[in-house]
C-alpha cells in the first residue's frame, strides 16, 4: 500500500497496529510527523492549545471546562502540594535541594534519560529518588501527596513548552522506541492500542467522552478528574486506562510506562504545560 507524506507514515503505523518502524531510527522525524498529523487533522486548533486535550477539539466540552476553570477543583491539592514541597525533610534538606532551579519551573523537562543509571526518570520517580536519598520513605504513586506535589511543580511550569531531550545514547533511543512501540501496539481484550483512541479516534466520541489527541496529552497532568473526584498522576491514568481497555495494568512507574511517558512527552515538545488540569 502506498501512503503519501507525513500523514501517511502515522496513519500507516496506526493501521498496521504494531508494525513500528525500526526502533529509535529517528525520534525527531517521528515527532515532526506526529505533530503534522494532528495539525492536519485539526486545522482550527492553535498548536499550543493541544495541551488542553478534548477541550481543544470540542466547543461544548470547552465551555464546561472554562466554567469549571473559573475556580478549579484542584485548588486544594495545589495548596497541599506547595506546603509539602516547602516542608523540610528530617535531615534538614528539602525537595528544592534535589532539583535544578530549586524545583521551580522544571516540570517541562521531565521525563529525562539518566545516562548514569540508564533509565527514564519521570518527575514522580525523581521526587521519590529525592526522598529516599534524604532518608524519607517514598510516597505511593498515583494519588495523594504525589499528585499534590506534582500539581504544584506543574503549576510553577505553566505555559512553559515541553522540552524533552533524547541524548545521543542508544539506550535513550531504545527507551523512546519502546514507548513508541507500546503506544502503537494493540493489546488486551478490546485489542485497542493507545493510538486507536488517541490518534484514529481523536476528537470523536466514545460514549460520553471526547477523545483527546495524543499530541500534548500529558501537558495537563496531574489532573483533577471528575470521575475520580480527586487528583491523579500520569501513572493513575495509565493504569486505569489499561484496566478499562481490559488489558493488564502495569505497576506505577513500570519501565514500559516510563518509556511511554518519555515517548508521549517528546512527541509533545513545544506544547506548553497546562497542568495541573481538570478532566471529565
Amino acid at each position: 500500500m502506498r501512503f503519501l507524506g507525513r500523514v501517511g507514515v502515522v496513519a500507516a503505523l496506526v493501521v498496521l497496529g504494531g508494525a513500528a518502524p525500526a526502533p529509535g531510527v529517528d525520534p525527531a522525524a517521528d515527532q515532526k510527523a506526529f505533530a503534522a498529523f494532528f495539525k492536519e487533522k485539526f486545522p482550527d486548533v492553535k498548536p499550543a492549545d493541544f495541551g488542553n486535550g478534548p477541550y481543544a477539539v470540542n466547543a461544548a466540552m470547552r465551555k464546561q471546562w472554562e466554567d469549571i476553570m473559573q475556580f478549579p477543583p484542584y485548588d486544594f491539592a495545589l495548596d497541599e502540594g506547595k506546603t509539602e514541597f516547602e516542608t523540610k525533610f528530617a535531615n534538614g534538606k528539602s525537595y528544592a535541594d534535589c532539583f535544578a532551579n530549586g524545583g521551580i519551573g522544571v516540570r517541562q523537562d521531565y521525563p529525562y534519560f539518566d545516562t548514569k543509571t540508564g533509565q527514564v526518570v519521570t518527575l514522580d520517580l525523581a521526587i521519590n529518588q529525592c526522598r529516599t536519598a534524604n532518608g524519607e520513605k517514598p510516597l505511593p504513586y498515583q494519588t495523594g501527596k504525589m499528585a499534590s506535589l506534582t500539581a504544584y511543580m506543574a503549576e510553577t511550569s505553566r505555559d512553559k513548552p515541553f522540552d524533552i531531550k533524547i541524548p545521543d545514547d542508544p539506550r535513550a533511543r531504545a527507551a523512546f522506541a519502546e514507548g513508541e512501540r507500546y503506544f502503537y501496539t494493540r493489546r488486551g481484550q478490546l485489542n485497542f492500542s493507545c493510538a486507536s483512541c488517541h490518534v484514529q479516534g481523536a476528537g470523536q466520541r466514545l460514549r460520553g467522552d471526547i477523545l483527546a489527541p495524543a499530541l500534548g496529552i500529558l501537558a495537563a497532568f496531574p489532573i483533577y478528574r471528575s470521575d475520580w473526584g480527586s487528583m491523579g498522576t500520569i501513572d493513575r491514568r495509565f493504569t486505569s486506562c489499561s484496566a478499562q481497555m481490559r488489558s493488564e495494568p502495569l505497576p506505577p512507574q513500570d519501565p514500559a510506562y516510563r518509556s511511554l511517558e518519555y515517548f508521549l512527552s517528546y512527541m509533545s515538545n513545544g506544547i506548553p504545560i497546562t497542568g495541573p488540569g481538570t478532566r471529565p
Partner: protein, 103 residues
C-alpha cells in the same frame, strides 16, 4: 489547619463578585466504597455569606451538589477591604467558617 473554604471576592465599583470553593466530600449516602459498604451521607446543608454583617446569600444544599462544592454570585455594593464571612454546617453537625476581605 487550613480552612475548607476558598473565596475569591472582588469589589468592582458598584458591585462585588463572589466565587467560593469548599472542600467537602458531599457524600450522598448512595455510593459504596471499594469493600461494598455504603459511605454514609455527609454533605453541607447550609452555607451562608455575610458582607459587613449583612447576610447576602444563604444556600440550602442537598447531596446532589457536586463534591468540593462551588458557588458564584454577586451583590450590590461592597468595597475593597470589607469583611466577608462564610459559614457552612453539614448534616453531621460539622461546621467551618472563614473571614476574609473583599479584594
Amino acid at each position: 489547619m487550613a480552612s475548607t473554604i476558598r473565596v475569591r471576592a472582588q469589589a468592582t465599583g458598584d458591585s462585588t463578585d463572589v466565587q467560593a470553593l469548599v472542600q467537602h466530600p458531599m457524600d450522598s449516602g448512595f455510593v459504596k466504597d471499594s469493600s461494598g459498604n455504603l459511605i454514609p451521607p455527609h454533605y453541607i446543608e447550609t452555607i451562608k455569606f455575610e458582607h459587613s454583617g449583612n447576610v447576602v446569600l444563604t444556600a440550602d444544599w442537598g447531596p446532589a451538589v457536586s463534591k468540593d462544592p462551588y458557588i458564584k454570585f454577586s451583590f450590590k455594593g461592597g468595597a475593597k477591604g470589607d469583611p466577608l464571612v462564610v459559614t457552612w454546617v453539614d448534616n453531621q453537625g460539622k461546621t467551618d467558617t472563614l473571614t476574609t476581605k473583599l479584594a
